[in-house]
């Protein structure tokens, strides 16, 4: 009697438990329908295009119409936000930072313009209009706008294929300006249509490799100025450039240029070393380029070294940016190519600017709005292309100087631009005797910062496949061309995503001691397997045509091997497939699942499924798989084990 009561009690507990299980399994099976593809599409479009939808009150609310306009203006022109609280102390800091920035910016801009195969004044023009516009529209407080090395290299490596800069410099320049216009249009469009994620498609690893390769290529290009070579190659790959240098060294080069350039390069590098050791002297490396320019110009002027073969800048056109609206070449036969180059340049420029902006924003703890940044960059380049500027973006080296100099807002960019305007009006004649070798030295001195060996080692340590993308970009830029390097990096990055996503594999799970948690037995060696149940989890987020069959075979192999392992005695009765990893499944995946069920059944095993995600359970229901596998769908592995073994026991 007592035993019967106990048995009944057991039975009741068992029933209760089973009811609990059944209820939870019902939760899984009766989940609401997931949003359809269409709903997801419209939802994500709405979310990306109108991320601030909730922040703007609707126009119906008449009283707040002016408020809406103001908040809209604030969003478009962030200067209105920070301007109101701008104080004299802020300005003092920004003034100092702006002046330091200008002293670095003027020689760099001239150097980058020559790197882009443009006249020197175009570099200065580009340091006037774009920084002013960015100051009004940008959201970063630390970024320093102007011409940068990588973009200059991109332009000078791609546009000469359309127009020879030496044979036809005016047409070449017009194409550069047109490219700038297109780059601006693309950047503004990315921002307006909230396509900021496109910039993310250049992975961090790829950028590290690409920039390092570009730095070496830029450095080799500077040999032209440093050695005073007159005829140089238009190609950018290492081998062609080395050949050109080799040929030049045997024919026409001038040691004066080399000695002059190297001495000032040494000087700049020493100041940088001093600045690094003593943080208070941060301004020393920042103004060293300007000092070099002044000293070397004086030297050449006094010694008349230009008569002895030292190449000098000569004429720089005086005066502010001229209009270039009529120089944009929309009827050029190469217009399609130009637009393509504009797109590449737009993406690379944005990538650099946003990386710079994010890293300093993260240090200071404020938020930069990626889409607004793109709009700002776009407008500054569009307006730049109307005013004789070529593509400007955020420079890493100058932003770092700006940051060290204690800038507080984008006002430092305005100060810098005004300083450049004054220089353009007053001091261009003074630069007549500036030796080209000094410009080369200034560019060369900025390059070591671009080759980030430490980061490359870090990437190698963390992720070998990421390092492959990094190395691919590096080698591509170095030995093929800039575009091929970029293409290699993007391709490797996406192939990596495919490989990881479809990599087939299955891990065996075991129960962690004294818990109801099931984990990979390889990752958690303390996890214990149940001899009657084989618990398997698919090792990828996607069960699709490319891996479903492999996964099926692997599971069958695991199931039959385990059986064989136990000396011919059949012990596995249930195979539980934990689907908690699976984000999605496709038609082939579903077919494989049904085949797996049939194969297991013909070997006398049962298949159970646990914790399918929303999309997955929906598809399994639509494809009728749930009924095909006998409704053995559970929320947790524990329940599945209990239910399946319980049923087996009952059957025995």
């Amino acid at each position: 009697m007592a035993s019967l009561a106990i048995e009944t009690g057991h039975q009741e507990i068992h029933d209760l438990e089973r009811n609990g299980h059944a209820e939870k399994a019902q939760w899984v099976l009766n989940a609401p329908e997931p949003p359809s593809l269409w709903q997801e599409l419209t939802g994500s479009v709405r979310e990306t295009v109108l991320p601030h939808a909730r922040r703007f009150p609707t126009v119906k609310d008449k009283g707040s119409l002016s408020k809406t306009v103001i908040s809209f203006l604030h969003a478009i022109f962030p200067i209105f936000c920070w301007c109101r609280n701008y104080k004299a102390t802020n300005f003092k800091n920004d003034l100092l930072a702006g002046l330091t920035l200008a002293s670095l910016c003027i020689p760099q801009s001239i150097g980058y313009a020559t790197l882009a195969k443009l006249d020197p004044q175009y570099g200065l023009y580009t340091s006037v209009i774009p920084p002013l516009i960015y100051a009004v529209m940008g959201t970063s407080r630390d970024i320093a706008i102007g011409p940068v090395a990588v973009v200059s290299l991109l332009l000078s490596s791609m546009i000469p294929k359309l127009e020879d800069p030496e044979a036809n410099p005016i047409l070449y320049r017009n194409l550069v300006l047109t490219t700038t216009f297109f780059a601006g249009i693309f950047q503004a469009a990315f921002g307006l249509f909230r396509l900021g994620f496109l910039v993310d498609f250049l992975s961090h690893a790829a950028i590290v490799g690409f920039v390092a390769g570009a730095a070496i290529v830029i450095g080799l290009q500077q040999m032209k100025g440093l050695l005073g070579i007159t005829h140089f190659t238009n190609k950018t790959d290492v081998i062609s450039v080395m050949e050109a240098i080799w040929r030049a060294v045997h024919h026409s080069w001038n040691p004066h240029n080399f000695i002059l350039g190297c001495s000032f390069l040494t000087f700049i590098l020493i100041t940088r070393f001093v600045g690094r050791r003593n943080r208070k002297l941060f301004w020393l490396p920042a103004i060293a380029p300007l000092i070099s320019v002044v000293l070397s110009t004086l030297l050449v002027y006094l010694t008349r070294a230009d008569k002895h073969g030292v190449m000098i800048i000569k004429h720089i056109k005086r005066g502010l940016n001229p209009s270039s609206v009529h120089q944009l070449q929309f009827n050029n036969p190469h217009i399609g190519e130009v637009a393509k180059i504009g797109l590449i340049v737009a993406v690379v420029a944005l990538t650099e600017a946003i990386a710079v902006g994010r890293s300093f924003a993260s240090i200071k703890g404020y938020h930069i709005n990626g889409n607004q940044e793109m709009v700002a960059m776009g407008f500054m380049n569009i307006l730049g292309s109307f005013t004789s500027c070529y593509v400007a973006t955020g420079s890493f080296s100058r932003s770092a100087v700006n940051f060290s100099a204690g800038c507080e807002t984008a006002m430092s960019n305005i100060v810098m631009a005004i300083t450049v305007i004054i220089s353009l009006e007053l001091f261009t004649r003074l630069l007549y005797y500036t030796p080209i070798a000094i410009l080369a030295a200034i560019i060369l001195s900025a390059l070591p910062g671009l080759v980030d060996l430490h980061e490359a080692y870090n990437i190698w340590k963390i992720d070998k496949l990421d390092f492959l993308a990094c190395a691919g970009a590096f080698i591509g830029v170095l030995f093929a061309s800039v575009e091929i390097g970029l293409l290699a990096a993007v391709t490797i990055s996406f192939v990596k995503i495919i490989i990881i996503s479809i990599r087939p594999g299955a891990e065996v799970l075991g129960r962690l001691p004294e818990t109801d948690i099931f984990c990979d037995v390889d990752q958690y060696p303390m996890a214990a397997k149940n001899p009657q149940v084989l618990i398997i989890r698919v090792k990828s987020g996607l069960l699709c045509f490319a891996n479903a069959n492999f996964v099926k075979e692997k599971i069958m192999k695991l199931a039959t091997e385990e059986e064989e392992g136990s000396k011919g005695k059949r012990t596995i009765q249930v195979v539980i497939l934990d689907m908690s990893n699976l984000m999605n499944i496709d038609v082939s995946g579903i077919t494989s699942l049904v085949e797996l069920h049939k194969n297991l059944a013909s070997s006398g095993m049962e298949l159970a499924i646990t914790n399918p995600k929303w999309q997955v359970i929906h598809k399994l229901r639509v494809a009728n798989v749930v009924t095909k596998i006998g409704g053995r769908v559970f929320l947790t592995i524990g329940e599945a084990v209990d239910a399946c073994l319980g049923a087996k026991m009952a059957a025995v």
Copy 2:
């Protein structure tokens, strides 16, 4: 005193719990190192290349050397396995199936040879050698080997670009034979190097669309025979073919051909309908094509209809397959193109054969070995190319007949091949008057089975993006070309994988009532959120450069929105990121994670991580993220909630 005791007790339980938590967190943090990339690579190569490594004893074991050889031979020539148990009753069934098969195969082979723009006898040759070799080496019992429609179409749509079949039929034929050789080489290589997964890259959905498109294209090609058109287009897209038909209908066509073809097409379709209604009459549709050939040939012979414009086959060369070793064109200037076509044909042929083999194996409940199948297919095509056969593979329609006719082993293929040999020796002259329209009718009658509208609807119901791949293949084949259709299908399939893998998103989790299970609150509406804790799970299997930033912003938005939602009162103290979905993370993902931690910290929230997978926790440790986020890594969400809130309470 008592309250103190209770408190102490509570404290103890709390301590115990915390110790338990700490221990489990240690399990997470101290997992053994995951296999390195190199180990995984070599491991997966070993596993795919030597899947049977354990089955063969090592050679050291001298006594079993002969055993090893035998088991090796059994693996290469499965016929030795089933031959020993082969009984007379088996043979009776196979004989019947083989004869039925032959009666369908002879007219189909002739038709497919004309579809491939070859002389009719080449179709018959292809039904001799390949089935014999497959019977010795193949592992499927039901597959019927020979020429098939889709492969014939592929050849006749790609090779004429290299050589005009009308201007230079011998060279064209030699190129087809060379393509067959390459296809065999590729197939055998796939099998030997265990690259079977390559065949999976054509997704089920893509195949459905591709085959349906190909069927319509093949059907349109048959209009040439059915209308008795002499000049036809070499292109395969619908528009060109329709134009060619339109032009022909207005100039030169013969109604006798059309009437003859249509009447026998109707006859074949009626027999099929009868066969479907009455399963016992399955042989009726199978022999209907042969009956049609005999009747129509007699009709033409008796009425001398060939004098009135009915086109007939005329001469079919008598005798067995001649050698074609010297006709392989390895010095042809198009050899690269030929190899490429060989690769495409190899993949398509394998895809069809393996799909056929798997589906019948699954019905009968036996296992076919994908790699051995590929080796068998490869050898049969290589040897076929030496004996005047073009590419053979498993035909779906004939395999179905074979299955219905009750075949038991590959012996039915041998019976069929012998029957074809006898026909080649004795009956080719009888086919002189066979009208070409009948061949067209036979091919046309086989096509409806290839357009699987039901499956297409199924795909649409289950997965809209899969349907896109299906539709892309269909439209590509129909309106562009066969290769473009294939390319479209493969591209769409892989783009889909990328989109699903990097689709950024985050789901909010809540605790299911009366459990310690945390689930997506959208999927499980009964899940309850804790106002102090925001639990988020990344909605993709990969946190990488392409989605990491988006995910970070999304989480920040969720965290700040939830805060705003609760009327300005800050309640969220902890953000728990459940990583159980994440298969892998890259350098950009890790950077984003650190940034997320900083951003949350500057808003006064803590970040905790739960259940990172093996690769992920390894990378987080290597990149020092675990210390950066204050060691808040837990095994389960429940523990993370308890630990974080507990710590917060203690701090208060």
